[in-house]
């Protein structure tokens, strides 16, 4: 059973699959993002309280959601690494961490840009804000641990353990606004039964969110393909690719 799983998760198969996947996802991402930006900047009505400054929501909220989503997918990868030793998951974990860190950073930056007009300051030590900052540190920690261990497979397993230990923080970030009454917005969008947001504001937001997700997946695929070549650099199929394409792995 595991042999079967491992064959399907074999790096060569995944390498080919990923190329097809990103061929589809990259244009889809472009379409979604364009639609989201246009919808968000032109069609969404001006907020009666915040004026136009609220429009940063179309970057802020998707990236904040992605910062949590990427972590959860890394946790999934971590389980497959530790239980089944799936190589693809090792690579996915390694390549996801910088992406997750970037989303987190983006959420922090857009959040504080938004905070300046809203709260009159760039930064407050509010529960959600600080826990998002912790998430950034978690990502950085995972990256630092991976860099500190020379052997990539060993590094991946160590990072998997750390990722799982850190999972406790995710619910804390998510529920922090409910547990502590804070400055930060409570759930406005995610209350799906009765969203407290105008539909014309909501639709671009959803488009952007899906677009961010597909962007994450296609960026991940690109990163993973380079990493796969490094992993399997001593096997014949990689040698073939590299020799037929004269070096530059990203061109394959």
């Amino acid at each position: 059973m595991f042999d079967f799983l491992n064959k399907y998760a074999s790096l060569m198969h995944f390498y080919r699959l990923s190329r097809r996947l990103s061929q589809w996802l990259a244009p889809l991402t472009a379409v979604l993002m364009c639609a989201g930006v246009v919808g968000g900047l032109w069609f969404a009505p001006t907020d009666y309280q915040q004026g136009d400054s609220f429009r940063i929501i179309y970057i802020h909220v998707p990236s904040a959601w992605m910062s949590l989503f990427v972590y959860m997918s890394m946790a999934g990868a971590a389980v497959s690494i530790l239980v089944w030793r799936v190589k693809v998951a090792e690579i996915a974990l390694r390549c996801s961490a910088p992406l997750g860190a970037s989303f987190t950073f983006l959420a922090l930056v857009t959040g504080s840009i938004w905070g300046k007009p809203m709260w009159g300051t760039w930064w407050v030590w509010d529960a959600r804000l600080t826990s998002e900052l912790i998430l950034l540190f978690l990502y950085l920690g995972i990256m630092a641990l991976q860099n500190a261990i020379e052997d990539r497979r060993v590094a991946a397993r160590a990072a998997a353990v750390l990722t799982l230990i850190g999972v406790v923080n995710i619910p804390i970030i998510h529920y922090s606004v409910e547990w502590w009454s804070t400055l930060h917005q409570g759930p406005t969008v995610s209350k799906f039964d009765r969203p407290s947001i105008h539909l014309h504001m909501l639709i671009p937001l959803l488009l952007m969110s899906v677009g961010f997700t597909t962007f994450y997946i296609s960026a991940l695929m690109v990163r993973m393909r380079t990493e796969i070549l490094r992993y399997d650099r001593k096997t014949n199929w990689v040698r073939e690719i590299v020799t037929t394409h004269h070096g530059s792995p990203s061109s394959v």
């Binding site: 530790l82 529960a127 600080t130 826990s131 912790i134 998430l135 540190f137 978690l138 950085l140 920690g141 630092a144 641990l145 500190a148 261990i149 060993v154 397993r157 160590a158 353990v161 750390l162 799982l164 230990i165 850190g166 406790v168 923080n169 804390i172 502590w180």
Partner: protein, 224 residues
């Protein structure tokens, strides 16, 4: 050999080593005391201000002390080959990890609790707040030892493990700090701190069940 005997063997060894090398074991305690005692110098003699910040200062000092006392938990075992030997001995590493965490708590956690009493009184803390502070620290320090053991195992033998431990551990400790601080803040306002303490207790139970496996896995990874 029975699990109890294994845990006892590890504990006995740790206690002996601590007793032989008291000054190393004393380092985090001295650090804790000095870190707290520096604040009156830094903030000036404003008693009201001091007693407001006191629980926070004590919690932060305890966290920092724990974060760098766990760092060395496996260092000499790794350097002198004892860790390799334990792994090769066939003993269950999860149990070794649990015993190590227990030893750390007894050697570094409990003394911090005991030292908190005079320090908090010295900073002018109210007895009611003090009780909650002690309770939250007691639960929190257990979690710190358990989590810290896992992180220490994960980084043992790496170059610059000190920084890695700090970087990896503090995000994990911050939830403890938030709940601990909010428990004492509630107590200072005369509110109930039960919810926060329950939460800390829950985290402790979670850590007790999960971290030994994480430690064992981490040790196996580091030795391979």
């Amino acid at each position: 050999m029975s699990p109890q005997a294994l845990v006892c063997a590890v504990l006995r060894r740790e206690f002996r080593r601590t007793a032989r090398n008291q000054s190393e074991a004393g380092h985090p305690l001295i650090f804790f005391v000095l870190a707290v005692m520096l604040f009156p110098f830094a903030l000036g003699p404003d008693t009201a201000l001091l007693s407001v910040v006191a629980p926070g200062v004590i919690w932060v000092a305890a966290l920092l002390a724990a974060s760098f006392s766990v760092e060395g938990l496996f260092r000499s075992d790794f350097a002198d080959g004892s860790l390799e030997l334990m792994a090769l001995s066939g003993a269950p590493l999860a149990l070794v990890g649990l015993a190590k965490a227990l030893a750390h708590w007894l050697v570094a956690g409990v003394p911090v609790l005991l030292l908190t009493l005079p320090l908090a009184v010295g900073l002018g803390l109210d007895p009611g707040v003090l009780a909650i502070l002690m309770a939250s620290l007691a639960l929190g320090s257990g979690c710190m030892s358990l989590l810290g053991t896992s992180i220490s195992a994960l980084t043992v033998g790496l170059r610059g493990s000190g920084m890695l431990v700090a970087l990896l551990i503090l995000p994990l400790y911050i939830p403890l700090l938030i709940f601990g601080a909010s428990a004492t803040a509630n107590a200072a306002l005369g509110l109930s701190a039960a919810a926060e303490l329950y939460f800390l207790a829950g985290l402790l139970v979670l850590a007790l069940t999960l971290t030994p496996w994480a430690t064992a896995t981490a040790l196996r990874i580091r030795l391979s």
